[in-house]
């Protein structure tokens, strides 16, 4: 198999948080009725996770499912398995009203690691990032500065941000800027 060509070649930045472009993230878009039992079962068979409730995430190791809208989920798995899993799921759902597409190469993923990640995200997105309002286990589709993005927290000091690959450089730029070492606000620490 050919090497994965990342949008930014795995760029990273150290500031208030460590920002890193992730390689090896497989992403599959599933559209369909997320409460349909046959769809839920097919996802469970292929990815080992059930489909999440509104704005929730479900993870099982490297596999996961993110709620994107009432009829859309983003399924996560290792990049190398993405196409095979997408094909397998599509075959299982051939009779169902559902669409399955491997979008791994159409997206860029950044990992934010550090205690101040809430602050870095809050500078860019119109989302209440206070620890009471946004917790690990939630996903939020929104905008960051001027581009569409989705993010979720894996734990209290790690988050992943997904955006379109075509705006990866912009996303890395705004994230790095918001994480500039001299720009700490310490809002959520208060």
């Amino acid at each position: 198999m050919s090497d994965v060509a990342l949008a930014l070649g795995g760029a990273s930045f150290d500031g208030l948080v460590r920002i890193e472009e992730l390689s090896g993230q497989g992403m599959i878009t599933l559209r369909g009725d997320l409460t349909d039992k046959s769809i839920v079962k097919a996802v469970k068979d292929v990815f080992g996770v059930t489909l999440p409730g509104t704005r929730e995430t479900i993870f099982d190791g490297a596999n996961g499912a993110l709620w994107m809208s009432p009829d859309e989920a983003l399924l996560l798995c290792p990049y190398t398995q993405a196409q095979a899993k997408a094909d397998e799921l599509a075959a299982k759902l051939a009779e169902a009203r559902a669409l399955v597409v491997n979008v791994s190469d159409a997206r860029a993923v950044f990992r934010l690691k550090g205690a101040l990640l809430r602050e870095v995200i809050a500078k860019l997105a119109p989302v209440d990032m206070s620890p009471e309002a946004f917790t690990p286990g939630m996903v939020r589709r929104t905008r960051m500065a001027q581009v569409a993005a989705a993010f979720w927290m894996d734990d209290t000091s790690t988050a992943r941000v997904v955006c379109f690959r075509s705006v990866a450089a912009y996303m890395f730029g705004i994230l790095s800027n918001a994480a500039d070492g001299a720009s700490a606000v310490n809002h959520f620490a208060r």
Partner: protein, 109 residues
């Protein structure tokens, strides 16, 4: 700043996450309709100072269209509701009547 709660994903989204879609509950008149109906569908819009019903799209979010009822004068939001309807829900209308007695919007009062 306008905050509308998307009925599909439950997010209290602010204006920059949304896209305005114009007046709600228009009846579309197509090629075989009368000139008067077509003109009215195409051009005639309510522009009230007060209660208004609008379509909005949660564009930087779940992507869904929905309806919102609000006051264009005070920016008070009375409520949001599903796009899969041709008229505002009864409980919402009751709430608006209570807050704005005597309001009139097209043939809704």
């Amino acid at each position: 700043m306008l905050l509308l709660t998307c009925p599909y994903c439950g997010v209290a989204a602010e204006e920059t996450e949304l896209h305005a879609g114009g007046e709600a509950h228009l009846t579309r008149f197509g090629p075989d309709s009368s000139d008067a109906d077509f003109t009215s569908y195409l051009f005639h819009r309510e522009n009230p100072k007060g209660v208004h019903f609008e379509r909005w799209r949660h564009v930087n979010g779940c992507g869904k269209w929905f309806h919102a009822a609000r006051d264009t004068n005070t920016l008070e939001v009375f409520g949001t509701y599903s796009a899969q309807t041709t008229e505002p829900p009864k409980d919402l209308l009751g709430k608006i009547r209570e807050k704005r007695p005597g309001f009139r919007w097209r043939d809704i009062a």
